[in-house]
Amino acid sequence: MESNAYQDLTPAEGLSGKQLRHLVWRSLLLQASFNYERMQAAGWLYSILPGLRHIHKNKKDLSTSMKEHMEFFNTHPFLVTFIMGVILAMEQNKEDRNAIRGIKIAMMGPLGGIGDALFYLTLLPITAGIGASLAIEGNIFGPIVFLILFNIIHFGVRFGLMGYGYRMGIKAVAKLKEGTKLVSRAASIVGLTVVGGLIATYVAFNVGYVWKSGEAELAIQTDVLDQIMPGLLPLAYTLLMYWLLKKGRSPITLIVLTVVVGLVGAYFGIL
């Protein structure tokens, strides 16, 4: 069985405020290499990379850590600094790698949802609404007021959460020193509960086809599939993907397959 501990288990020297602020600037490129296979993974690794290099002087450990931070990652781009802070605190203390992964996944989903609600559904409509109403009058201050209001909060959140997450991570890590196995198990429980919820919430797979016979109409999605189980297709498709991955199929194959499903579905008007 593969070991889940780092080779060098001596806690690393802490990150300075300056180093943390540098990482916040890097987090602006979280989605530079966005793609459907890993989403923000490479950008996430880019954001925390100087921190990891500071923490893992052992090259094997740095390689292990980098490899694992290339795994699928997706969250809200403003709130990501909080996760960065917590995860760097854990890395610094050379926590069990399963625990680090579990915590990372457990946080990314909820923060994604919170971020959408806070920023795209609240902050943006309010500030852009003010800006647009001025602009429509031909007032040049419309865009300026919008940018200032929006970014004071935007950057305040990014910088504030980095420090907060890091300090919280250090404290929590000290408390949870004993029983990393239990922590890692607990993190996996939260992580998998969240993944179960994410599948039902964010995989958009609906059949638009309506079966007609004379007067009778049968909407396949609402009258049949949803009656069997809501979220049936997202779950089934995800499990199919899971099964194909376990069979050794590459994610690229799955992406191509999904594009074909979308095109065929749209061509025949089924999806």
Binding site: L28, L29, Q31, F34, N35, Y36, E37, M39, A42, L62, S63, M66, K67, E71, N74, P77, G102, I105, G113, Y120, L124, P125, A128, G129, G131, A132, A135, I136, N139, G142, P143, F146, H154, G179, L182, R185, A186, S188, I189, V190, T193, V195, G196, G197, L198, A200, T201, A204, F205, T238, M241, Y242, L244, P251, I252, I255, T258, V261, G262, L263
Partner: protein, 255 residues
């Protein structure tokens, strides 16, 4: 027109990056309206069209991977055509939307085509080659810049009508299909997480999370809190078991 088209292309490239990176929101139509207005020498019209487009795009935000019509190209092309043709803002919107939808299809394609690059990134990570990881991210930025700059430049340089015919020549089912595929795509990411995390003893928690979302429509935060509650219960039950007896527990809690 060449100088103006080039300047607008430059702006489109910069704000195309801002749409996903930086996120200072200079890519919103209300800002683009002002800048394109400055470039084309009609600030007031630019502001008015930008403000109008802003209100239309206000509800169209990138929620959880579902991509709305592209706000960058919508804002740039809409404002530029509105000023050049001298039409009402509403007409500018009519021109902007098909472009924005088509561009979003191309973006979906780009996010798909960029996936294989991740395997290169895996190799860099394994070699602890941090420069390689950085190059891959910069490559993404360069592609986005060139892509948006080209898309903005061509229709403005070639003229509105010419460009509109190209967009209309793409069959609707291809645009629809790409959009449907984009909606299903997160399933692959989640499957990869399952492959890493799933063990038989954890299946029950996965089922709980799914049911809470699918049947009860609970938000992800609520589901995470329920997961946390279960995890805490599990944690303290197991901890007690391993510590042999509640007495010691009380003492450690006290310290």
């Amino acid at each position: 027109m060449l100088v103006e088209a080039l300047l607008i292309a430059l702006w489109a490239g910069i704000v195309g990056i801002d749409l996903f990176n930086g996120l200072t929101h200079i890519h919103r139509p209300v800002v683009t309206g002002l800048v394109v207005g400055l470039i084309l020498g009609d600030v007031t019209t630019g502001l008015i069209i930008g403000g109008t487009l802003e209100l239309i795009w206000m509800g169209m935000v990138p929620l959880a991977g579902a991509q709305p019509p592209n706000v960058v190209i919508g804002g740039v092309i809409g404002t530029a055509f509105g000023i050049i043709i001298g039409q009402e803002p509403t007409v500018a919107v009519g021109v902007a939307i098909p472009f924005a939808v088509a561009v979003q299809g191309l973006i979906t394609l780009f996010f798909t085509l960029f996936s294989p690059v991740m395997h290169k990134a895996d190799q860099y990570a394994l070699d602890a080659n941090y420069k390689g990881i950085e190059r891959i991210n910069y490559l993404g930025l360069v592609i986005l810049f060139v892509f948006y700059a080209l898309i903005a430049f061509l229709p403005i340089f070639l003229g509105a009508e010419q460009a509109a015919t190209y967009v209309e020549s793409v069959p609707q089912w291809i645009l629809d299909g790409l959009s449907v595929a984009g909606g299903i795509m997160p399933a692959i990411g989640f499957a990869m997480l399952l492959k890493i995390m799933m063990k038989t003893e954890y299946i029950m928690f996965f089922i709980i999370g799914f049911v809470l979302a699918a049947y009860l429509n609970l938000p992800i935060l609520a589901i995470a809190l329920i997961g946390l509650a279960i995890a805490l219960y599990d944690f303290y039950t197991n901890k007690k078991g391993s510590n042999q007896g509640p007495r010691e527990e009380e003492i450690t809690d006290g310290i």
